[in-house]
Amino acid sequence: MMKKLFYFLPLVFFFVLAAFLLKGLELDPSAMPSALIDKPVPSFQLDTLESDTVMTEKDLTSKVLLLNVWATWCVSCRIEHPYLLKMAETGVNIVGLNYKDNDEQARAWLAELGNPYLFNLRDNNGKLGLDLGVFGAPETFVIDKRGVIRFRHVGVIDDRIWTEILKPVVDQLTSER
């Protein structure tokens, strides 16, 4: 009897898979809360893709910023990229966190697709990403003028996400003292 049940395993496995696929059809990328909300950006010392100047968490203060986690191995980032360029054109301040990536490839990416970032932190071994609790890429953190994380968005930013979710947050933070 047990042996007969064994033959049902593939079927059970398939139903679990199908349940996820069904759920997948109903889902939409959505913002998610983070334990880091309203905490300052974790301290770091990283140089940038653009130069050898070392940046720290202090360099993320004084204006409202988006900290965008990206990598050349991330297919979704390629989809997100053109929209970031548009946002940068309208004056949004975006800082890149180049996560677990190859520097050469990352520079080539920016040269080819354009650079929407003020500068790009080189997080080659993923240390800052780990401190930020990054799952993967892309992810975007909204950071206020005092360098405190105020909002986190996991996934691709597109027109809808920006106008409906992120822009209101950025506008509100900009109007703060």
């Binding site: 033959y7 079927l11 696929l21 059809l25 191995w73 297919v75 979704s76 892309p138």
Partner: protein, 651 residues
Amino acid sequence: MIPELGHIALIVALCVSFILGLLPLLGVARNNRVWMLSGQSLSVLMFLMTTCSFACLSYAFLTDDFSVRYVADNSNTLLPIQYKFSAVWSAHEGSLLLWVWLLTAWTAAVAWFGRFLPLQMHARVLAVLGLIASGFFLFTLLTSNPFARNFPFPPAEGADLNPLLQDFGLVIHPPVLYLGYVGFSVAFAFAISALLGGRLDASWARWARPWTMAAWMFLTLGIALGSWWAYYELGWGGWWFWDPVENASFMPWLTGTALIHSLAVTEKRGVFKSWTVLLAIFTFSLSLLGTFLVRSGVLTSVHAFATDPERGYFILAFLGLVVGGSLSLFAIKAPELKSIVRFDWVSREVSLLLNNLVLVVVMTIVLLGTLYPLIADALQLGKISVGPPYFNFFFIPLMFLLLLILPVGSRLRWKSTRQRYLANLFKKPLFIALILTPAVSFVATGLWLWQALLATFLFNWVVIHTVDDWFFQTRTASSFLARFRKPGLSYYSMFFGHLGIAVCALGIAYTALLSQEKDVRMEAGKHQTLGGYEFVFEKLEQVQGPNYFADRATVTIYQNGEPLAELKPEKRRYFSGRGQMMTEAGIRAGLFLDLYVAMGEPLDDSRQVWAMRLYLKPFVRCVWLGALIMALGACMSLLDKRYRFREVAEG
């Protein structure tokens, strides 16, 4: 008028497929010979109707009939004629029609070449294929009709084909890939018919083998073509990205590879019967899952077609019916299958089971990595990509293991192998492989890298065993020439299959380890060196193609002061509404080294100074050469006379 004709032909084909899915099965149940035989003519009729429909859509493209919405969205009067034709399958609706057309072509082929099979079996197989086809016809007609019109105001000009797809690679890549995907439906139909019939002897495996081999051959070629196309057309110098759509084609390839090996065991030894049936179901299910992933938009991908949840629900329901139904049938019927044959632990049976195990584990890992973003999303962990680090971490060690056990599997004897025979078999090749490895590795790479040594050892290990086994098998031949004719074509099929995977693996390892790239600022007269090659930017000119403007650079490459090659990379800007930019890389291809130049962005307003990327890609050609050799192997097995059935063997 012609598009309506195509639409009607498709509807007729749908009706025929319904009848094909029911009548032969009823015939088997009632033992009605005429009903069973009807499957053959119905299959041919279904194929003719779908051909007619496909021809009508092609006609609409060739005549620029922009009143058809699909044509208006994907073509343009300026498009060169060959791309007008390939534009037929450039987007969702048309590629679905191509898919179903190829399915009916396989069905018609099974109807013709299988006419010597036992009638009941043949009727069941055709009926199963008919049922699958009716699902795809319904999908096309209900959610993705390619013949929908743009009335009352058809546009005067079409939107143009995505420039990425205006390329020879796209003309052949999808049809070949789909031939592979769809071809596994035949193996699936044989497995289901065998389950339905209940009497699962080894004969079904024998009938299914050539079909599976053919599907596998096309899938191998299709994946290789896709990879080659991505390499020269995307301008990123990469040839595999672990993109969800690539994975969707790779997963059936992995289980398909397991299946062709497992079918051999089942045919020759009558064991692993239920496992082989399960693999056949898996392989086709993964082809369907691939369709679901690509068409439903649940995953983001560079390949994603226009997404539409309605389509997603339809495919998921279809997937549930086909896979759920066949796995239920398996759960009920498979326990009745018993293998009476015994075998030892040290036998070819066990080593082939090991091969199957590794392949299925690799498939599971790829599946998990592909679906992880979806699962994470469903569990509210957010939308993310899983990158190559994950895939490479698991894939490389497992492939290592697979290549290590490959010669073991091919050289052990069925049933049981004596220890002493075993030691003799492995001592010499191991010795030669160990001696040759450092030399080959150093000559090929010019460096001492432990990864390169490891990859070279695996290559030597597989190749030496394959060649040594040939000498062993042919030792009794009377003369040297007679040796070549001694083993049958099936043996050579294995021979080339194994050589192919060794060449492919070596190419992957070397190109990953040795590739060099450099981003540079170039203007006329400037030169750069990379890996001993001097790249001189000669000039920049503006040229006009049939439907684009391009900035074309001329780069001459010198080696030791001697001119070696002249490359002309381009940055194209297409005229049509989308105004898309395209990078056309300049490549000098060689078996051992590719020199690759791609243009980035202009760095000044007069478009004279450019960011450019230079690549050295050693051994990248071996990746595709290996795939070609594998496909050649599969082709030889198809030509083997053992699989031509001429006698009528009624069961």
